[in-house]
C-alpha cells in the first residue's frame, strides 16, 4: 500500500504542477491512524498529508457530486470497487466526468478496526502492510496479523481488482489477492429461517437504529438533493425513531429506492455506528434481481437501463415470492 501511496503522491504532484488538475481528492490522516478522512488537497506541498493505507476505506466517489460542480478539474483516487459507484453517478448525471481525473488505485482490501480491537489490538500507531502479512505498531508493542482475518465485511466479497473506469492507474504488478466469499451467503441463511426467526433477527438489528443517517450520507446512490424522509411534502417525513416501525419504513424504502441502482459498495454497513448489517437489505434486492431478471451489476457500465426501469413481458409474477417455498 505504501508503494501505491508514493505513486499517488508523486502523480498527484505532477498533475497539479502541470495544471492538468486543480485539486486532489484523497485521504488525510484523522485523529487516529485508523481513521483517515476524505480530504481535498489544493497544493503540491499539502500532498505530504495524503495517506493511503488499510483504513482508507471511505469511498470518494460521492464527494465528487459537489466537488465537480466547482470550476476546474479534480483528481480523484478510486479503488476498484469505488469505480462502480463512480460509474453509477455518471449514469445519473451526478458528477461531471470532464471535471474529473480518475486515478485507479490498487487495493489489498480494507481493514475493520472492530476486528482488530476484537483481536486485542489497541493503540495502533501505524501499520506495516505487506500483502497478507501485517504488522501493527501499537503503544503496547508490535503485533503480527494476517490481513485476511481483519478485512472489512465488504472486502470479504470483493468485486475484484479491475477498475471499471479510470484515466490512469496506480497499481502494483503483484497485488495481494485473497479468496472471496459468496456475498449472498448471509442472505441465503436468513432466507432459510422461519419468518418468525427473520422477524426477530431484523427487529434485533433495526431496533438499534438511531436514525443518524450515516448510511444515507455515505451511500453513493442515495444522492437525492432532499430525501423523501426529510421532506414535509412527501407525507412520510420522519422525525425520530420513536417507534418500532419508523426505522423499518426508512430502511425498507431506502433499500427500495436504491434497488437496481445499488452497487453493493457496503458503505452503509461500514459507516453504521450501530453495526447494523444494512447491506443485507440491498443484497437481498440484488439477489432477487439476479434471480428474477438476470445478472445485473450496477455501475459496471454507464449506459443502458437498470432492472427497475425496464421490464420483459415474460417477467416472473410477484407470486413467485410465495411459490418459491419456505415458510
Amino acid at each position: 500500500m505504501r508503494r501505491i501511496r508514493d505513486m499517488m503522491r508523486s502523480r498527484a504532484g505532477e498533475l497539479l504542477r502541470e495544471g492538468t488538475v486543480n485539486r486532489v481528492l484523497g485521504w488525510k490522516n484523522g485523529e487516529f491512524y485508523y481513521d483517515p478522512n476524505p480530504a481535498v488537497f489544493e497544493t503540491e506541498e499539502s500532498l505530504d498529508g495524503l495517506v493511503y493505507n488499510g483504513f482508507s476505506a471511505a469511498m470518494l466517489s460521492k464527494y465528487l457530486i459537489d466537488a465537480t460542480k466547482k470550476e476546474g478539474r479534480i483528481l480523484v483516487f478510486l479503488k476498484p470497487c469505488d469505480t462502480y459507484s463512480f460509474n453509477h453517478l455518471l449514469r445519473e448525471h451526478k458528477v461531471n466526468r470532464e471535471n474529473t481525473y480518475v486515478i485507479g488505485v490498487g487495493c489489498d482490501g480494507m481493514l475493520d478496526i472492530e476486528k482488530l480491537r476484537t483481536l486485542g489490538v489497541k493503540g495502533i500507531k501505524s501499520l506495516d502492510e505487506n500483502g497478507d502479512d501485517l504488522v501493527a505498531h501499537t503503544l503496547y508493542g508490535d503485533k503480527t496479523l494476517a490481513r485476511r482475518d481483519i478485512l472489512l465485511e465488504k472486502c470479504l466479497s470483493c468485486k475484484g481488482s479491475e477498475h471499471k473506469v479510470y484515466d490512469e492507474l496506480a497499481v502494483v504488478d503483484d497485488p495481494w489477492q485473497w479468496d472471496t466469499l459468496d456475498r449472498f451467503a448471509k442472505v441465503g441463511e436468513l432466507e432459510g429461517m422461519t419468518p418468525d426467526e427473520r422477524f426477530a433477527f431484523w427487529r434485533g438489528e433495526l431496533s438499534r437504529c438511531i436514525r443518524c443517517n450515516a448510511c444515507r450520507n455515505a451511500c453513493p446512490v442515495c444522492s437525492c438533493l432532499k430525501c423523501v424522509f426529510d421532506n414535509p411534502r412527501s407525507g412520510v417525513q420522519a422525525k425520530s425513531n420513536a417507534d418500532s416501525f419508523e426505522e423499518n419504513m426508512f430502511h425498507i424504502i431506502r433499500a427500495f429506492h436504491v434497488a437496481g441502482r445499488c452497487t453493493d459498495c457496503g458503505e452503509c454497513s461500514r459507516v453504521c455506528p450501530q453495526n447494523i448489517p444494512l447491506h443485507l437489505l440491498n443484497r437481498k434486492f440484488i439477489k432477487d434481481i439476479n434471480a428474477f431478471y438476470g445478472e445485473y451489476q450496477a455501475g459496471a457500465d454507464v449506459e443502458g437501463k437498470s432492472p427497475l426501469t425496464e421490464y420483459k413481458t415474460g417477467d416472473v409474477e410477484p407470486s413467485v415470492v410465495y411459490e418459491r417455498g419456505g415458510a
Binding site: E92, C222, C224, L225, G235, V258, S306, L308, T309, E310
Partner: protein
C-alpha cells in the same frame, strides 16, 4: 382552508336499502373542513345536481364529495355540475358507495359503516386537492401518412376529402405498395391494378395531397397536434419538374442487369427505371449501384437522350421539415424470407417460388406477360403444388406464431386462376386448416374445389426434391392417412407475412409501441383499434396486424376518421391529471425518463431556486400534452420530485390513512 360539502345519494333503494344515508351524512360532518352534508334520492338527476349547485353557492364550498355510484359512471356528470357553479371540476371527489358497498353487502350496519369510511377517505383526499386546469395546445391542420400502399392512399384520400392537407411519405419510387404487384383480388377476382390505379391517380391529383416518394422520415419531435418531422427526399438523379415521363432514358439505358424489385427479382430492369407502367409519379429514378455513370463516370446516355434535360447526376438528398397535427403509420408488410426453409428447396430450385412471385407470373404486365411458365425453363407447368402456412403458426425460431390470414384466400385464388387459364394443369393445395372468415370467402374457396377441381389435401409437405427436372413433393394426406408423393413442375409457397422492417425504427421514433412480432399495438385491441397508445399516432393497414385488402381499406378509413376528428379541433384540451416535477427536489437521475411509455419526459438544464440559492441543474420536464398520467414516473422517482396531479402522493396516502384509521 377548504369548505367541503358532502352529498349522499340514495340511488333510489340501490344505496339506501343497505346504507343508512342519514347516518353517513351525519357522520361526515365531523370530518375536517366539512361544512355541509346532505342526502338526496338521485344525485345524478337534475334535482340532485341543482342541490349541488345551490349548496356550492350558498355555503361557498371549495370542494365537494359525492357519495354515489362508481366514478366511472357519473364523475363527469358531477364535475360538470360543479363547473357550472363555478367550482373547479377537479375539486370533486366521488365515494363509490354503490358498486363497492351497497351492492355487495347485505347488513345495513356493515354497509353504513363502510360507506362512512369511504366517504371519509374521499374527504381526506379532497382536503389535499387543488384546482387543476387542463392545458391547451394548438392543432396543426395537416396529417402525415407514412407508407403509400393501399392503406396509406386510402387514409390520405379520406382525410384530404374532409378538407385537410395530407402528405404521403413513401420509401420506394412509386406509391401503390404491395397491392400494385397483385394480379387479381379475392373473392371477386377483379384486377388489382384496375381498382388501385384510379386511387393512385386520385391521390396524386388531389389538391390537398402531397406525395413524397423515394423519401423516408428521418426524425421527429413534438407531440399530438404538433409534430415536427424531417423527411429525407432521396435524390432520384432526375428532375421531377422537368421530366415528361417519356421513358426514352429507360429504353436506352445500357445497364439492364439489375433485378426488378417490382417483379420480385424474376426479371431484370435497367439502371434508370420506372418500377411499373402505372407508377406514380411517372418519373424514373437512377439506381446508383447499377448505373454505369455513377460507377465509372462514363456513359451518360440517359442525359444525352433526355430532351427535357431532366437528368441531374449531381442531384442531392433534400431534407424537408414540416409540421403535422397527426401521423398515420401505414408501413405495410413483406413476406418472410424463405432462406430457412430449405426442405422446400426454395433457394436451390428456381421453380419453387413464393406466392408473391406467382402473382407476378400470373400478371399480364409481369415477367412472363401473364403466361404461367416455370422460371427454370419457361415451360408451362403441368402440375403445381401450393403449400400453405409456410412459416405461419410456427413456434420454432424461423417462423411466426401468428396466422398470416391472407394465404388461404390467395392460394385458393391462385389455384383457381391457374385452372382457369390451364385446365390441363393439376393444382394441389396442402393445407392445415382452410380459414375463410370473410364475406363470400368460403364460397370462393369452395368454388376452387367444386368448380375448378383444385385438389385440396389436408396435410403438410415434408420435403421437396428435384429429380430429373421434376419437383418430387413428399407430403402427408391426413384424411387418407397416407404419405403422398407428387411429381410437380412448380411449387408455390404461401410464405408468412411480417411487418415491413422499417416499422421498427419508426416505432422508436414516434414512441409507437410494438408487439413481439413488430406489429404496432393498438391503444385498445377492441375499442381503439386504429390508434396507437401514443396520442396523435394512428395505424392503418398491415402494420397493425395481418389483414386483406377489404379489411385494410376499412381500417384505413377508420384511421382517417380518427385523424379528421383530431384535425377538426382548433385546440386540444389536455388531461390535467398529468405528472409534474418539483424542480428543486429533482436530482436529475433520469429514472423517470426511462420508464415513461410516451416519451413525455425530457431533461433540461434549468435555473432552479432552492432555499434562495440559484443554480443551474439538470431537471426533469414533463410535456403535459404528451403525458397520459399513468404515474410510472412518480414511483420510480426516489426523491419524490415527480408527482401526479389528481393522484398525488399526499392524496393517496390521505386515503390510506382514512381507511386504516
Amino acid at each position: 382552508m377548504q369548505k367541503i360539502g358532502v352529498f349522499i345519494c340514495w340511488c333510489g333503494s340501490n344505496i339506501a336499502a343497505t346504507v343508512d344515508v342519514e347516518a353517513v351524512a351525519e357522520a361526515v360532518k365531523t370530518e375536517p373542513n366539512v361544512v355541509f352534508s346532505t342526502n338526496y334520492q338521485y344525485m345524478c338527476s337534475e334535482g340532485g345536481q341543482s342541490a349541488i349547485r345551490n349548496a356550492i353557492a350558498e355555503h361557498g364550498l371549495t370542494g365537494i364529495v359525492v357519495c354515489a355510484c362508481s366514478p366511472r359512471m357519473h364523475e363527469a356528470t358531477f364535475r360538470k355540475a360543479a363547473a357550472v357553479a363555478g367550482l373547479n371540476p377537479y375539486m370533486v371527489e366521488i365515494a363509490n358507495i354503490r358498486e363497492q358497498c351497497s351492492w355487495i353487502h347485505k347488513e345495513k350496519s356493515e354497509g353504513t359503516e363502510k360507506a362512512i369510511i369511504l366517504a371519509r377517505a374521499a374527504v381526506a383526499k379532497l382536503n389535499r386537492n387543488v384546482p387543476l386546469f387542463a392545458g391547451e395546445s394548438p392543432v396543426i391542420k395537416r396529417a402525415l401518412v407514412i407508407g403509400g400502399g393501399i392503406a396509406g392512399i386510402q387514409t390520405a384520400l379520406d382525410v384530404a376529402d374532409a378538407g385537410y392537407e395530407v402528405d404521403i411519405v413513401e420509401k420506394t419510387p412509386t406509391i401503390g405498395g404491395k397491392m400494385a404487384m397483385l394480379d387479381k383480388t379475392f373473392p371477386t377476382l377483379d384486377c388489382a391494378a384496375c381498382i388501385l390505379t384510379p386511387k393512385m391517380v386520385d391521390a396524386s391529383a388531389h389538391e390537398k395531397i402531397n406525395l413524397y416518394t423515394y423519401s423516408e422520415v428521418e426524425s421527429v419531435s413534438g407531440f399530438v397536434g404538433n409534430f415536427t418531422v424531417n423527411i429525407r427526399k432521396r435524390a432520384r438523379a432526375v428532375n421531377s419538374d422537368l421530366c415528361t415521363g417519356c421513358g426514352v432514358c429507360v429504353e436506352k439505358c445500357p445497364s439492364k442487369s439489375a433485378k426488378s424489385e417490382f417483379n420480385q427479382g424474376l426479371c431484370n430492369r435497367s439502371a434508370i427505371y420506372i418500377p411499373f407502367a402505372q407508377a406514380i409519379p411517372n418519373v424514373p429514378v437512377i439506381d446508383r449501384d447499377a448505373c454505369i455513370k455513377f460507377k465509372t463516370g462514363k456513359c451518360g446516355i440517359c442525359e444525352k437522350v433526355c430532351t427535357a434535360k431532366a437528368i441531374d447526376y449531381d442531384q442531392e438528398d433534400e431534407i424537408i421539415t414540416k409540421q403535422y397535427g397527426a401521423v398515420v403509420l401505414a408501413t405495410g408488410f413483406k413476406p418472410i424470407s424463405m432462406e430457412r426453409y430449405d426442405e422446400f428447396q426454395y433457394a436451390q430450385c428456381p421453380d419453387v417460388i413464393t406466392s408473391l412471385e406467382f402473382e407476378r407470373i400470373c400478371n399480364a404486365a409481369g415477367p412472363t406477360k401473364g403466361k404461367v411458365l416455370r422460371p427454370s425453363d419457361h415451360e408451362p407447368p403441368k402440375t403445381v403444388v401450393f403449400v400453405q402456412c409456410v412459416g405461419s403458426r410456427a413456434t420454432v425460431d424461423c417462423g411466426k406464431t401468428y396466422c398470416s390470414k391472407i394465404c388461404c384466400m390467395y392460394t385458393a385464388k391462385h389455384a383457381m386462376l391457374l385452372r382457369e387459364k390451364y385446365p390441363d394443369t393439376e393444382a394441389y393445395v396442402f393445407y392445415i386448416d382452410v380459414r375463410t372468415p370473410g364475406k363470400s370467402f368460403d364460397e370462393f374457396y369452395r368454388r376452387a374445389v367444386e368448380e375448378y377441381g383444385v385438389h385440396y389435401i389436408k396435410g403438410m409437405v415434408g420435403k421437396v426434391a428435384e429429380e430429373d427436372g421434376h419437383l418430387i413433393v413428399q407430403g402427408s394426406d391426413l384424411i387418407a392417412d397416407k404419405q403422398v408423393v407428387i411429381k410437380a413442375d412448380m411449387v408455390v409457397l404461401a410464405a408468412a407475412i411480417e411487418p415491413d422492417p422499417t416499422a421498427r425504427s419508426l416505432g422508436t421514433m414516434f414512441t409507437a409501441s410494438m408487439d413481439t412480432n413488430d406489429f404496432f399495438t393498438e391503444a385498445h385491441p377492441k375499442l381503439r383499434p386504429v390508434e396507437s397508445p401514443t396520442a396523435g399516432i394512428f395505424l392503418s393497414g398491415l402494420c397493425q396486424g395481418p389483414k386483406d385488402i377489404p379489411d385494410t381499406v376499412a381500417q384505413a378509413g377508420a384511421a382517417a376518421s380518427k385523424v379528421i376528428g383530431l384535425l377538426s379541433k382548433d385546440k386540444l384540451m389536455g388531461n390535467p391529471c398529468v405528472a409534474g416535477c418539483s424542480e428543486p427536489l429533482c436530482n436529475g437521475c433520469s429514472s423517470c425518463e426511462l420508464v415513461c411509455p410516451y416519451g413525455a419526459i425530457t431533461y433540461e438544464d434549468k435555473m432552479v431556486i432552492d432555499h434562495g440559492v440559484r443554480e443551474t441543474r439538470r431537471v426533469a420536464c414533463v410535456n403535459e400534452a404528451v403525458c397520459q398520467g399513468c404515474g410510472a414516473c412518480t414511483v420510480t422517482c426516489p426523491s419524490g420530485a415527480m408527482d401526479l396531479k389528481g393522484f398525488t402522493n399526499l392524496q393517496i396516502m390521505a386515503e390510506v390513512d382514512a381507511i386504516c384509521r
